[in-house]
């Protein structure tokens, strides 16, 4: 790339207080997320530079049955900050939560004065239509696809969202499903799934749409992953080459982000190995940062890199704040019932409640043996904890083992 272009980019960055060093650091963090070696940093930098100096890549951000938490989460990303994403990297022509335009099929086009030439449409709807004609955009989908009540569980612009959604999906170059709701319906699809929610990949499958879907679970999505994917898809040309699809696992998730469990990378892992556990919130063990396994932590069965990437620009993450992981990243795009709520609740217990004959019960010894198949990796360590499912103290605790008691653990 010509040196002049570098200078143009860096002067742009400098104008908003971003130094060359910051920029390279950002490229480095993207490289880490994508599992690339440090030698890839110049390649990423060149791609981002090129993107910053050419027309912004078109994108639509569509909210299904969403709480807007993933949009909120994107706004918490600082590398790059949201202004850079919105102004420089992507042209997010439809983004209900932040866009200037208003929806209104019954409003008549008006005029614009000043610098902007008159446009045929002045509505949010118009923004989508123009993009549908153009095609080739990235579709970022947040929230659950709502199919209940003939799709009327979510009405937008006077009709059900599912009426227009197939065309929006079909004309996209790729779909990025942000957050567990978009991946498999999330909590919305949890038993009894009253509004018949499903993930966008399932929806595409049902509608016979072949657009590739990249799934980014957790509730909400972590903004760092979205940025990494957008750069992967858009700037490094991995979509055209098909390379991106090779990097996805069976659940359509980027393996590099979702390939290891939280437990694998947990800073409290040492305490797990030593048998040092928190049995009560706010206790002395909690203050020492002991392992939260005994109060239900789902780290061992949850595949995300939260301990490495962390949250809110690296400020902290769930386990560091003393809270057991609830497994919000557990998602199963094509299997209803695999959502993180049905899989993980009750969150403060080690074992799920088993639904049998219309009621549920907490597995005791026999259940533990069954559950141990899933938690097999843990038993390798010889932890062999007895699951009691007691309810006192606000959280169901494991029985305290003699080993812990000697060390002052438990109550």
């Amino acid at each position: 790339m010509a040196h002049g272009n570098h200078d143009a980019l860096y002067s742009q960055l400098a104008a908003r207080g971003v130094t060359r060093r910051d920029f390279l650091k950002f490229c480095g963090s993207i490289a880490t997320l994508m599992g690339l070696a440090e030698t890839a940093i110049p390649q990423i930098a060149a791609a981002v530079e090129a993107a910053a100096l050419t027309p912004r890549a078109p994108a639509l951000w569509i909210n299904g049955g969403a709480c807007t938490g993933c949009t909120e989460s994107m706004a918490q990303g600082m590398t790059p900050d949201v202004a850079t994403v919105v102004l420089d990297l992507l042209s997010l022509n439809y983004f209900e939560t932040v866009m200037m335009a208003q929806g209104g099929p019954e409003m008549i086009p008006g005029y614009q004065e000043g610098v902007v030439e008159a446009k045929p449409e002045l509505t949010a709807e118009g923004a989508i239509k123009t993009m549908l004609e153009e095609g080739g955009y990235i579709l970022i989908f947040e929230g659950t696809v709502m199919t209940g009540f003939g799709g009327n569980a979510l009405r937008i612009a006077g009709k059900s969202q599912t009426e227009e959604l197939p065309e929006i999906c079909k004309n996209a170059a790729a779909i990025v499903a942000v957050g567990s709701c978009a991946v498999d319906g999330g909590w919305v699809a949890a038993r009894p799934n009253p509004a018949e929610g499903k993930g966008i990949q399932q929806f595409c499958k049902d509608e016979g749409i072949a657009t590739p879907v990249i799934n980014l679970p957790t509730c909400p999505v972590n903004p760092e992953w979205v940025v990494a994917m957008v750069i992967d898809v858009l700037l490094l040309g991995q979509l055209e080459s098909g390379a991106i699809l090779d990097k996805l696992d069976d659940f359509g998730r980027p393996s590099l982000i979702f390939g290891q469990t939280i437990h694998d990378n947990c800073p409290r892992r040492g305490h797990f190995e030593n048998g040092e556990f928190v049995y009560e919130f706010g206790s002395a063990e909690e203050a020492k940062g002991y392992c939260l396994y005994a109060v239900g932590c789902k780290g061992p069965q949850t595949f995300t890199n939260c301990p490495i990437v962390r949250w809110n620009d690296g400020a902290s993450w769930c386990v560091e704040s003393g809270a057991p992981c609830i497994g919000c990243g557990n998602a199963n795009p094509l299997s209803p019932g695999g959502n993180w709520v049905d899989v993980g609740a009750p969150f403060l217990n080690r074992m799920p409640d088993l639904p049998i004959a219309g009621t549920t019960f907490q597995p005791s010894t026999i259940g533990a043996a069954v559950g141990a198949v899933a938690a097999g990796a843990l038993l390798v360590h010889g932890i062999g904890m007895k699951v009691a499912g007691r309810m006192d103290g606000g959280a169901p605790y494991e029985d305290v083992r003699a080993h812990d008691r000697k060390k002052g653990g438990g109550k």
Binding site: P55, N93, V98, V116, N152, R155, A157, W187, N193, T360
Partner: protein, 566 residues
């Protein structure tokens, strides 16, 4: 007569449809507000454990999950008759404060600012004059003055200009695509330089709201959707290092609120408090009042945990009309007076139920403003629609001013309101302050939110210092061990956008019923019965009489709806 529909109304959390009828006098003569999404949270929670409701129910809203989480955990604690330790009270208050700071900054700049500020006009600002104006505004209203905060207005103008020019002819205007740039409802008297200052702060605010969320990240694990305020207290054990991280970020946010957000409010407000008859613009202080009933459950517990002693206290005001001198007595809030009606909503459950025995039975029929037209239930208090949110809280706090025990070092809501009305009066060239009655309007609702931000900024610093003092004492407690017991409970609290309450019934250790009345449920409520005497919901009522300058782009309508932060 004309019908105008805005659907979806953007820059809010969630999906909303607004339909208005505009009379021959170009004013709104009728209005229907429709919540267009049903997910079924209450049904999903049935049969699950009360401990799990904290984690799941906060996911109703990604902008105010903290408040839902706190309401849920308080309803469980009410069921078990449990009082959380003082340490947990302080930690929860600070997390909640951080969410208020985050949410109000995000609302004013990211969501609402484009209704009052035109990025196109910023492009014609003179840079030297912009610095002069910024200096003058800061000199009047920023406690720290202008020297602490130098923004490169030239760079911002260049960036926005290049962005618009590069995107204009190839459909790459990003979030400004098809926006109402150049709308005549932006008064021409408002200088381009002020537009540029606001655009610069729009960009800066994106960083500031993230700093505020990082406080929740530290104390709550992450934001949105936090992890630590479990039933019985908190899992977060403060350390010196963590409190230092919190205070460092908090001081940056507080600096922005006091030295940027409040000065911006006072600089922009005068242009929207005036009539410009030649441009067809009516003062935003002259319409948008609404139902004039105000409810606050109260938020930020003091050591007594009483609703009416919270730092933003609970209270109910029915039929307040300051312009007519009608100031009714303040009532203490009572959750048993809440009723939900569904005859105009897409449910077939029984009408008029209190949420402690509430039902959620969804049944969709065709959208019809003369029949059923919303997924929102019509929630009422003593059979009256109630406005909830910062205006309600600030009015209740104003009326309770003398009976309150305010924490050390905070400016009280009354002081902040009186100061602002005085400043606005002198900006407008009046002989005295703008009358208090101006609060009951579109402009008043916006101002109340921003002044509440200043109050919460003060309160958050006071709360962190109180927590530091508590930790220093040494005898700390963060969690109250307890058992799950059967019974009924309600947790009443306030999200940034208004009153939130969660009701739960626990039977055999499982939730047999769970009902949520969210802030938006109150404000977007549809009519409560069929026929001509049906009472409109708060937002519907606030639209009546609003002028509409351009029915093709009904700016006044979207401003009013958005002022509720629905």
């Amino acid at each position: 007569m004309a019908r105008v529909v805005v659907d979806p109304l953007t820059r809010i959390e969630g999906h909303l449809r607004v339909e208005v009828e505009i009379g021959a006098d170009s004013k709104v003569s009728d209005a229907w507000v429709s919540g267009t999404l049903y997910r079924g949270m209450e049904t999903v929670l049935k049969g699950r454990r009360p401990q799990d409701a904290f984690y799941v129910s906060q996911r109703i809203c990604g902008v105010c999950p903290i408040s839902h989480g706190h309401a849920s955990t308080m309803s469980a604690e009410d069921t078990y008759d449990l009082t959380i330790p003082n340490g947990a009270r302080l930690v929860r208050n600070i997390i909640e404060c951080a969410q208020y700071l985050h949410s109000h900054v995000l609302w004013f700049y990211t969501l609402a600012a484009l209704d009052y500020v035109d990025p196109l006009k910023a492009l014609s600002a003179d840079i030297a004059a912009t610095y002069d104006l910024a200096l003058a505004v800061a000199g009047k209203y920023a406690p720290a003055g202008f020297d602490v905060r130098v923004t490169d207005f030239g760079a911002v103008q260049k960036r926005v200009g290049e962005f618009i020019n590069a995107g204009l002819n190839n459909n790459r205007l990003s979030i400004f695509t098809n926006g109402w740039l150049g709308h005549p409802a932006y008064p021409s008297e408002m200088p381009a330089e002020l537009h540029l200052i606001a655009v610069a702060h729009y960009l800066e605010a994106l960083q500031v709201q993230a700093e505020a969320s990082q406080i929740i990240g530290i104390m709550g694990g992450k934001f949105p959707h936090f992890m630590t305020s479990v039933n019985g207290g908190t899992t977060f054990v403060p350390t010196e290092e963590k409190l230092d991280d919190v205070l460092y970020r908090l001081m940056k946010v507080v600096d922005f609120v006091n030295n940027v957000m409040i000065p911006d409010t006072l600089a922009i407000a005068p242009y929207y408090a005036k009539d410009y008859p030649n441009e067809g613009i009516v003062s935003s202080a002259a319409y948008g009042a609404g139902c004039k009933n105000y409810l606050a459950w109260g938020v930020f517990n003091d050591p007594s945990f009483e609703l009416t002693k919270r730092y933003l206290p609970g209270g109910v005001i029915k039929g307040l009309d300051l312009a007519a001198g009608v100031i009714p007595g303040l009532e203490d809030p009572d959750p048993s007076k809440v009723m939900e009606y569904v005859s105009r909503s897409w449910y077939d459950s029984a009408d008029g139920l209190n949420p402690s025995d509430g039902e959620t039975s969804a049944k969709y029929v065709d959208y019809d403003v003369n029949g059923k037209y919303s997924w929102g239930k019509a929630v009422r208090y003593d059979d009256l629609p109630m406005e909830v949110g910062p205006l309600s809280r600030m009015l209740v706090a104003y009326l309770r001013d003398t009976e309150m025990q305010w924490p050390d070092g905070v400016r009280t809501p009354k002081q902040l309101i009186d100061l602002t009305l005085g400043a606005l009066g002198s900006e407008l060239g009046l002989t005295g302050p703008v009358p208090l009655a101006a609060l009951q309007s579109l402009l008043g609702r916006v101002a109340a939110r921003n002044l509440e931000t200043a109050f919460v900024a003060d309160l958050s610093v006071a709360s962190v210092l109180e927590l530091v003092g508590y930790v220093k004492e040494g005898d700390v407690k963060w969690f109250e061990p307890h058992s799950v017991s059967d019974g009924k409970g309600v947790g009443m609290w306030e999200a940034p956008r208004g009153s939130v309450a969660h009701w739960m019934t626990v039977e055999g250790g499982k939730l047999s019923n769970y009902q949520v009345v969210a802030p938006t449920t109150w404000d977007i409520a549809p009519r409560d019965k069929e026929g001509a005497d049906a009472v409109r919901g708060p937002i519907e009522e606030s639209l009546i009489g609003a002028p509409v300058m351009d029915p093709e782009r009904p700016m006044e309508v979207v401003r009013i709806v958005r002022s509720f932060d629905p």
